[in-house]
């Protein structure tokens, strides 16, 4: 076998293991000023044992080498369901690095940051139009922080009417951040069942809805990629009992420019700029999770809020009922700027084309893999399609094995084992950023893997075979966690 002809690759050690006393990667400018009298010894640290000492050359080589152990969406197809791994336009990166933006201190006087304030104000306006909302805050740093912000506002709204209420209703297909955010706002979480279509079970919702319910948190299209067609009635049921409808906008990519949550009855929603609006996922952040509201909730928005006045753009904090701040300064402006550039590049037609292509791509994948893989819900698919491993069980192959084997074919696996209501879920979201050639190559790989499951299940159970490392023993790692490097003969740190 040719594999044996390839000598084993030298693993890339840790920064700390490559360090040599006396090396440095950067010189600091001359002081220009007289040396300061030294601080008292009680404040000053000793040398940090084991801290890196490397030349610039070695730093570059180290991080370049470890970068190559990663798979990014510029390398290939990344159908990670519910994450919307679309293309990150390069001009957005350039925009964020323009000196006037990148070097603007957040506490500069307003007259010194009119450009940044205009970006904030205009993106708020764009998002209002796209979502059908009346006002937006760009302060939350991520989707989960957006949820927290939204539910805090819901609480403030109910409190202003004398009763904060106790319960948040959340469908069982929801993302785990929904219940965690609701809990942090002091609410009790109750689950709403999904019906056979994978949608909110309307009779169950009617039964659970009462004056105790503060808010229904709804993801639409839901995590099965299915549009909640009864959204109108769902909102009516909640509103009739004085409740609020929170829309988790994680899946806005499915219908941007086609329909608007605000028109359907949503009162509060968050959008993820790192999903629908193309800001890079960065290996797990930074993100940005702006929150939009209808007028009755606007007075609770976080402060400061940007305002357009005759004297230019200004920050305003005179909203006594505001829930306060959720982020220091003004949120993740660098992400706001990228999203702003993305909306301008697309225009209204481009945004609609995004939704159409994303939904088209998901339906094409569904059509071609249906039958080979088990489709647990046959409801119409929007931007993502969920299969399960039921057809593979008889070969002793699980979803995890399919995911690992996909890597050998050069594809990032889909999201797996989510949503929780599908056993062995494989959640595929192609986004609009793939053409037919890439989709076909992925589909072919999936079909071949299904055949391999039948003919050589062990090949899948031991996959991946082509990656720098194999499956890691995660259970052992959690039992005796090693969470940092330590010097071989540690004398403790000064």
């Amino acid at each position: 076998m040719s594999v044996e002809k390839v000598p084993p690759k030298r693993p890339e050690g840790l920064l700390f293991e490559q360090s040599t006393a006396g090396k440095r990667g950067c010189e600091v400018p001359a002081a220009q000023v007289p040396a300061a009298a030294p601080l008292d010894a009680r404040f000053i640290r000793g040398e940090i044992e084991g801290f890196p000492e490397l030349s610039e050359r070695e730093v570059v080589r180290h991080f370049t080498r470890i970068s190559r152990l990663n798979y990014g969406n510029d390398q290939g197809f990344y159908p990670l369901g519910s994450c919307t791994m679309k293309y990150n336009p390069k001009v957005n990166e350039k925009a964020a690095r323009l000196e006037g933006f990148a070097e603007a201190h957040p506490l500069l006087p307003e007259e010194a940051v009119q450009g940044s304030l205009q970006v904030v104000s205009e993106l708020e306006r764009f998002l209002c139009e796209i979502a059908g909302m009346d006002a937006f805050t760009l302060q939350p740093a991520a989707g989960a922080q957006g949820e927290l912000t939204g539910i805090r506002m819901v609480r403030a709204f109910h409190e202003s009417r004398g009763n904060p209420r106790q319960v948040v209703l959340i469908p069982d297909s929801a993302h785990g951040t929904n219940p965690a955010s609701a809990h942090l706002c002091g609410y009790r979480v109750e689950e709403i069942a999904s019906d056979s279509r994978g949608c909110v079970d309307l009779p169950h919702l009617r039964e659970r809805m009462s004056e105790d319910v503060a808010v229904l948190m709804l993801t639409n299209p839901n995590t099965l990629g299915v549009f909640e067609s009864e959204i109108g009635e769902i909102c009516r049921v909640v509103h009739d009992a004085g409740g609020i409808v929170y829309l988790d906008g994680a899946n806005l990519n499915a219908f941007v420019g086609v329909a608007r949550p605000g028109d359907m009855g949503a009162d509060v929603m968050h959008v993820n700029l790192h999903k629908t609006f193309s800001t890079p996922h960065g290996g797990g952040g930074p993100g940005s999770g702006p929150v939009g509201v209808k007028e009755p909730l606007a007075r609770f928005l976080p402060v400061p809020r940007v305002a357009r006045t005759e004297a230019g753009y200004r920050w305003r904090s005179d909203f006594p009922e505001s829930i306060g701040r959720v982020h220091a300064f003004h949120g993740n402006f660098g992400m706001v700027l990228r999203a702003y550039a993305y909306v301008l590049a697309n225009g209204p037609g481009g945004l609609r084309e995004i939704a159409e292509t994303a939904v088209l791509n998901a339906n094409y994948v569904r059509k071609r893999l249906e039958g080979t893989y088990h489709l647990p819900y046959s409801s119409p698919t929007l931007h993502e399609v969920i299969f399960s491993d039921r057809n593979l069980e008889k070969h002793g192959v699980r979803t995890l094995d399919v995911a690992k084997r996909l890597m050998d074919y050069g594809f990032h696996p889909p999201t797996i084992y989510f949503p929780l209501i599908v056993k062995g879920a494989l959640m595929i979201e192609p986004t609009e950023s793939e053409g037919i050639q890439e989709l076909d190559a992925f589909i072919e790989a999936m079909i071949r893997i299904a055949r391999e499951a039948e003919e050589d299940p062990d090949l899948l159970r031991t996959a991946p075979h082509s990656t720098p490392i194999g499956r890691l023993d995660e259970a052992a790692a959690a039992r005796k966690p090693i969470l940092r490097w330590t010097p071989a003969t540690s004398k403790g740190e000064a």
Binding site: L14, F43, I48, Y78, L80, A259, G285, A328, L337, G470
Partner: protein, 448 residues
Amino acid sequence: MRYIPSSPGERRRLLEAIGLRHAGELFDSIPREFRLERPLSLPDPMPEADLVEHLRGLSEQNLDPRAAAVFLGAGAYRHFIPAVVDHLISRSEFYSSYTPYQPEFSQGTLQAIFEFQTLICQLTSLDISNASLYDGASALGEAILLAHRARRRRRVVTAATVHPEYLKVAATLTSRLDLRIETLPSGADGLVDPGRLAQSLDPQTAAVVIQQPNFLGRLEEVEAIAEAAHRVGALLLVVVNEAVSLGLLKGPGSQGADVVLGEAQSLGVPLSFGGPYLGFMAIRSDFLRELPGRLVGQARDAAGRTGYVLTLATREQHIRRERATSNICTNQGLCMLAASIFLATLGKQGMRDLADLNRARAEYAKSRLSRIPGCRIPHDGPTFNEFVLELPGEAKPLHRALLRKGIVAGLPLADYFPERKRDLLLAFTEMNSKSQIDRLAEALGEAR
């Protein structure tokens, strides 16, 4: 649209393959009454060249960072960023990937997080660091929640000299938990008085919160404060929002801090009008199960090779849902990577030199500015790269006058503390040359 790779012909083929005639039919599951029958009211699409022009024009509406002398800190610091940082974080293997759910395809990100966790432990002198949090302010909120869980007590005492915006964010994040956050005023020297603190603590206190250097730039007596906190069984949480100071100052973990958290924007992340930044949190190992956020651990594969994985996920929301330690489901991946590259490049000696340089420039400024007639340093004593200057008159008009000369004379403290009308909070980094500082001193001397 240029970002979408399918041609009209290919789209027709895809539509045919799924048995549809029009793209509109893709949305039949959306009730007709909710479908938007008009184009969104947004500007027309911009070709890239026009877009760049437009954005450049907007960026030029901001203060020209090259021409101005800016002495602002207060939780966000302008430091030099070596070219390698931006070069390396711009590799799309890093920036176009997501949370490392699939370790075999994400060893780059995972190893970088493991290295970041180690670097933060080294700087803070603590045992365990997470993979980062949104920003320093939310890190404080999360640390208070951690102390509340670990001690099951409802009272938190915080120094008045913790960043005011951090306290506001922490209040928002913890407001539903029936926690009492009380503020302890600082003394005339701008410091927490450990004796007074000890008197205000009781067995109901879950945590004491201080900042080092504090919001006024002064260095707190961490050890004495830790002793007072521990005497009643409270945790000491130390906020650090100028992480460059850790090149010189003792890691608070070595002085008794149980949690060190804050903002690491200073380590290679641009100012960018306030974000994205880099929250961090390090803890004593006793509190591991209560730690919020992502964690990476070392692991082995079947062949015995070492690799890295997300670990201890049972604390997290996607498993624990409403019983999770936090609702956070990401970290600040790319900012964290920037900080690791920054720290590796500066290295052991570079971090010390940089910290010394920052302090030297600030000490020079202190001596120059305090000699201006009528100006004084109200909280005299050890500082790092930031301090308060009291002017003979109101600070705001003078601040505005200097702005017209291209000088941003720090932050008028009245923005946060209305009674402090004559105070400026000024920061000095390696980006503020001696001649800039001289310019500031002359302008203040003329304008006062």
